[in-house]
């Protein structure tokens, strides 16, 4: 009952309308409902993620975090929103006006679109595309363009550098990301997120792909690439305050800046949600209603991301690139092969063999990727 | 289908011609590349439209389209590499400033 709460509400509403509306209108309304819900969900999630992040990081840095506005600072996001809205919107003089204006809008769109294929709970996928995962990847890959527009249009060296970095990084990490999803497609034989979640049901959560050798590997790789895709630390080179002021959104202020921020947080959410969907069995889980399970898993993953931010220092560019191309990519390739083995060989054999192959690959790759250490720097006045 | 095949073909033809025009006229080599991509896309539209409209296996045309897309990506990769090399050597990316091969 609780489980299907929202679904039933929607259905009920539609039946109610069905009484006195023509059929196409009902369909229209249902579509509108889904879209509206998602569109409302995005900003909401974003607002409270900001709060969560500030709290969590605060705790990690032995602070308390916002606690003035409202109880536990629950109204803090609202205050921030109002502040953002009321701020002056500055556009550089010789910026490319149109593009400069379009960029923040275009960066939110893919982030919102990605919500469409996420199964929030049993029967709670907005659109159950039969190419859901591919759709997600495709949409999230378009985000780079918006960043490009932003960095290029605001004629500013730092923005341009940030944009370059961002795009290089996103392109590089997209490849292993896509490749790390392939094993699941190989094993489940479908790309619809809904079906993938269904495939992980039962056995009190032990059918999660996280608990298979290949699944474990891809889960980690996928999550890492996700962190990189969303430009969060330790992969936040594109917006490294200390190196290039704030990267591609240096020249933005007020609501436009807020939009970038929003996009970033929504991406964070979607990435974690998809990780939960693909590897942690999505909304599968005992006792609690499905959507609750889903949000539990997602938010714990988000917490991990924030944990990263609180813990890890930033990568150097060459390290970042090296990780993507020299380690993750070959590993994912091997992983796909392993998934093939898993699919064909009998379980007990496969488990052993897969683990073996992956371990060996890991070992070899770690041996091959020697850490590059720059020669000792000489400071003209330093010594 | 709802829209007759011809309209898709005409659409493809228009895109094709625009691409052709760009290929002939743009000075900037990257612009030329973009135009070529346009041409390839028009081809894709035709392929998919045919595969939908004719009675053969529907995925055939789409597979061709996939191949076309892959080859397009390859073409762009090499083309851009050439453009950048050119830029490094001759400090220009304008097609009509690169005429070392004339008499």
């Amino acid at each position: 009952m609780i489980d299907q709460l929202f679904v039933n509400i929607k259905q009920g509403g539609l039946q109610l309308l069905g009484g006195f509306l023509p059929e196409w209108a009902v369909i229209l309304v249902s579509i509108m409902m889904s879209i509206g819900i998602l569109a409302a969900l995005g900003p909401l999630i974003m607002m409270y993620l900001t709060l969560m992040e500030r709290k969590v990081v605060g705790r990690m840095q032995n602070r308390i975090g916002p606690n003035r506005v409202g109880k536990f600072g629950l109204l803090q996001p609202l205050a921030d929103g109002i502040k953002m809205l009321t701020k002056e919107d500055i556009v550089p003089v010789n910026a490319d006006k149109v593009v400069h204006f379009l960029a923040p809008i275009l960066i939110v769109v893919p982030a919102l679109l990605a919500f469409a294929v996420i199964p929030f709970g049993r029967n709670m996928t907005a659109v159950d595309l039969n190419i859901g995962v591919l759709f997600f990847l495709a949409v999230s890959s378009t985000g780079t363009l918006a960043i490009f527009m932003a960095s290029w249009s605001s004629r500013n060296k730092y923005s341009l550098l940030g944009g370059m970095r961002a795009v290089a990084q996103m392109i590089s990490y997209e490849v292993p990301m896509v490749m790390s999803v392939v094993p699941i497609l190989v094993v489940t034989g479908t790309m619809s997120t809904h079906a993938i979640v269904e495939a992980q049901g039962g056995w009190g959560g032990f059918r999660w792909f996280l608990f298979t050798p290949w699944g474990f590997a891809s889960a980690i790789i996928f999550f890492l690439c996700g962190v990189a895709e969303t430009n969060r630390s330790p992969f936040d080179l594109p917006e490294a305050e200390s190196e290039i002021i704030a990267g591609f959104h240096t020249e933005y202020s007020g609501m436009k800046f807020a939009l970038f921020y929003m996009a970033e947080f929504m991406n964070t959410f979607t990435i974690c949600a998809l990780t939960a969907t693909l590897f942690l069995g999505g909304w599968q889980g005992p006792l609690l209603p499905s959507w609750l399970w889903f949000f539990l898993k997602t938010y714990s993953l988000i917490f991990v991301m924030m944990w990263f931010r609180g813990t890890l220092p930033r990568f150097r560019v060459d390290q970042m690139m090296g990780l993507a191309w020299k380690f993750l990519l070959p590993f994912t390739f091997v992983n796909i092969g392993v998934a093939g083995v898993w699919y064909f060989a009998p379980r007990n054999t496969a488990a052993v063999v897969c683990t073996l192959i992956l371990a060996v690959t890991f070992w070899i790759l770690t041996k091959l990727n020697r850490i590059y250490t720059p020669e000792k720097r000489v400071y003209s006045f330093g010594d | 289908m709802i829209v007759p095949l011809e309209h898709f073909l005409i659409f493809g033809a228009i895109i094709f011609t625009i691409g052709l025009y760009g290929t002939l006229v743009r000075r900037n080599l990257i612009g030329v590349l973009i135009s070529i991509e346009l041409i390839l896309n028009s081809v894709n539209v035709n392929l998919v439209a045919f595969s939908k409209a004719t009675s053969m296996a529907p995925e055939t045309g789409q597979i061709f389209a996939v191949f076309v897309i892959a080859m397009a990506a390859a073409a762009v990769a090499v083309g851009l590499a050439i453009v950048i090399a050119l830029y490094r050597v001759q400090k220009t990316v304008l097609a009509d400033e690169v005429n070392l091969l004339k008499w």
């Binding site: - | 002939l24 097609a95 004339k102 008499w103």
Partner: protein, 636 residues
């Protein structure tokens, strides 16, 4: 789950890949990778072997590719008693030999590459063993040939090694071509290449041809009579290779081929006769040559050839079981002998019998194991060699061609003789060369020796009457022999006599009266010469194959030099003469014309070259307009 048999060849393959790519990084660890993989293969194979031993009979095919004529080529495996026996031999012996090799090759600069090759070989051999059709068989057969070539020529810095490798490769190639023709013929004749379809063959005119050509493969691979010359030279390779490839497994593959396609041979009696004859000749001839060889490994090589001859002869006489049985036992004791010999070479640094002697005190393990191996091969009961050889002799005795029995008996006698000649000269007496300070080999070399020695002692028993001829019944689903289940005391006695006689003679000549050997050499001088010169086979081949080519070459050279060159020079002289005349003509008339043309061309070119703008889009535009015009006129 029997399908995991596929991992058996795949694991060594993985080892090969790892070693070939990361060998340099791994260094001496590479050896253990190979060892572990083949050991794992052995473990995976074991339950399946038990399954087969309990009477199971597994096979599985998957489509490899579909031929244009609709026929399908399948890959897969066929696990019946025969292939299982081979599987057992190859995995066990292979693993042991690799363990041994980690000691033997220690410190070799190309260590990892060696093990890469060995692993590749193991993979190929195992694929061949479980193969269920001729194509798969042939493919892995060729890969084995390649590995053999690479490993014989492993120390290719030595010319002799390189040449030996080339010789082996080319010689076996002759046989392989025959084999392939045979496969084709068989395909034409029976329309299927699957082994299981051989059991219900329709008679066909081409079958004899197919059988004979397929037998060519055996002749080449397991060094039968006309093509046996490569095996002795193959001893240039490292000793583990000689033990693994050129004694235990690869050369046995030829025998396995005949056994595998046995129904085919049964279908054509004349082919059987050929097989039997060739085998017998080989057995006798090789044994005869081995009598006087003075290089440990050469002796062992010739004895290998002779034993293979035994097996082939047995198969030729319709004795599938004896052949296979002898194959198994031989694999064990011959590998043992080779490895012991290798250990001797390792410990003393030489392989010339003349320089060795009196090693018994210095190398305990090696000497004992070598002795055990020799007793086994000589055929002294109750060691393994006795039972299998006795089976073969029995088949020969019961067969229609009784003479084969006597020839084989003689070769058995010679076998015993030369083996013990080797033993006495190497291990007994006193050291002949005092610069050699022999020392025992490390444990990872001696341990496999003892394991194999145990095998050489015990493996005969399952085939012995004590165990009710368990092995024969295990293999004998083919029903072509029932006679030998009753013990034939005459044959058994004769073989024992031959063995002991040989040993005694050797003892007399080389242990008690060391001068006796020389005297024998004096008395039977022609025979001695014949044997010491390997029956002049190499010379013969040189005479009938190599020399004619060279002669032709020389003749052609002479022809070239005198006639062709003469013509050329004459032509040249004429040309000079004519050119004098031409010169004048040229200068004034031709050049004038040419220059005129050039001038004209220049004038026109000055205009036309304007077309060549060098602007790519220009060209494109022109092409496009051309197309446009063409299309237009096409449609109009």
């Amino acid at each position: 789950m029997v399908n995991q048999i596929y991992f058996v060849p795949l694991l060594p393959l993985a080892a090969f890949v790892v070693n070939i790519f990361f060998g340099k990084k791994l260094g001496e660890k590479a050896g253990w990778i190979s060892v572990i993989t083949s050991a794992a293969a052995c473990l995976i194979a074991l339950p399946i072997m038990f399954g087969v031993a309990r009477g199971g009979h597994f096979h599985h095919e998957f489509l490899w590719l579909t031929l244009s004529n609709g026929h399908a080529l399948e890959f897969g495996y066929l696990l019946d008693p025969l292939s299982t026996t081979l599987l057992f031999v190859v995995t066990v012996v292979g693993t042991l030999i690799q363990v041994y090799a980690t000691g033997y090759m220690h410190g070799d600069p190309k260590f990892s590459r060696f093990f890469a090759y060995v692993s590749l070989f193991m993979a190929a051999m195992l694929t061949l063993v479980i193969a269920n059709n001729f194509i798969q068989f042939f493919v892995s057969w060729e890969i084995m040939g390649l590995c053999s070539y690479l490993l014989i020529g492993f120390w290719f810095e030595k010319d002799s090694a390189a040449n030996a490798g080339r010789k082996a490769f080319l010689t076996t190639r002759i046989g392989d071509v025959g084999f392939f023709i045979g496969i084709m013929t068989l395909y034409v004749a029976s329309g299927s290449l699957n082994f299981r379809d051989l059991h219900h063959l329709q008679p066909h005119a081409l079958l004899p041809m197919a059988a004979l050509f397929i037998f060519c493969g055996t002749i080449g691979k397991s060094a039968q009579f006309p093509l046996h010359v490569w095996l002795p030279d193959a001893m240039e390779g490292p000793t583990p290779v000689s033990a693994l490839i050129h004694a235990a497994t690869m050369v046995a593959a030829g025998v396995y081929l005949v056994a595998r396609s046995f129904p085919l041979f049964e279908a054509v009696p004349q082919a059987m006769t050929v097989v039997a004859t060739i085998g017998t000749i080989t057995a006798f001839m090789a044994a005869f040559i081995a009598l006087t060889a003075t290089d440990i490994k050469k002796v062992l090589a010739y004895s290998t050839i002779s034993q293979l001859g035994f097996m082939v002869a047995a198969l030729g006489l319709g004795g599938l079981t004896p052949g296979t049985f002898h194959l198994m036992t031989h694999a064990f004791f011959k590998a043992l002998l080779f490895m012991a010999a290798g250990s001797v070479i390792h410990g003393t640094g030489t392989q010339e019998i003349k320089e060795l002697g009196g090693l018994f005190g210095k190398m305990k393990h090696t000497s004992w194991t070598f002795l055990i191996g020799s007793v086994a091969i000589a055929g002294v009961p109750p060691l393994s060699g006795f039972w299998s050889k006795d089976e073969i002799l029995l088949t020969a005795y019961n067969s229609s061609q009784r003479w084969i029995y006597w020839v084989l008996l003689a070769s058995a006698f010679m076998t015993a003789f030369y083996m013990f000649r080797l033993v006495f000269l190497t291990f007994f007496g006193k050291a002949r060369n005092h610069h050699i300070h022999a020392h025992e080999s490390p444990v990872n070399m001696t341990l496999p020796l003892w394991v194999l020695a145990a095998g050489a002692i015990l493996l005969g028993l399952p085939g012995s009457p004590f165990f009710g001829n368990w092995f024969q019944n295990f293999l004998g689903g083919h029903g072509e022999h029932h006679a030998e289940h009753v013990i034939n005391w005459f044959v058994m006695g004769s073989s024992v006599v031959a063995a002991t006689g040989g040993i005694l003679l050797a003892a007399v000549l080389y242990l008690w009266f060391p001068q006796g050997a020389l005297k024998m050499g004096e008395i039977f001088r022609p025979l001695y010469l014949a044997s010491i010169n390997k029956l002049w086979f190499d010379e013969l081949y040189k005479r009938i194959i190599v020399d004619p080519w060279q002669a032709t070459g020389r003749w052609l050279f002479a022809f070239d030099k005198t006639i062709i060159d003469g013509t050329v020079n004459g032509a040249g002289w004429l040309t000079l003469l004519t050119s004098r005349i031409h010169d004048v003509f040229d200068k004034y008339i031709i050049d004038g014309l040419v220059n005129l043309t050039g001038a004209v061309v220049q004038i026109f070119g000055a205009f036309t070259r304007r077309i060549q703008t060098g602007l790519i889009q220009n060209y494109l535009l022109i092409v496009f307009l051309g197309v446009l015009v063409l299309v237009y006129f096409e449609l109009k």
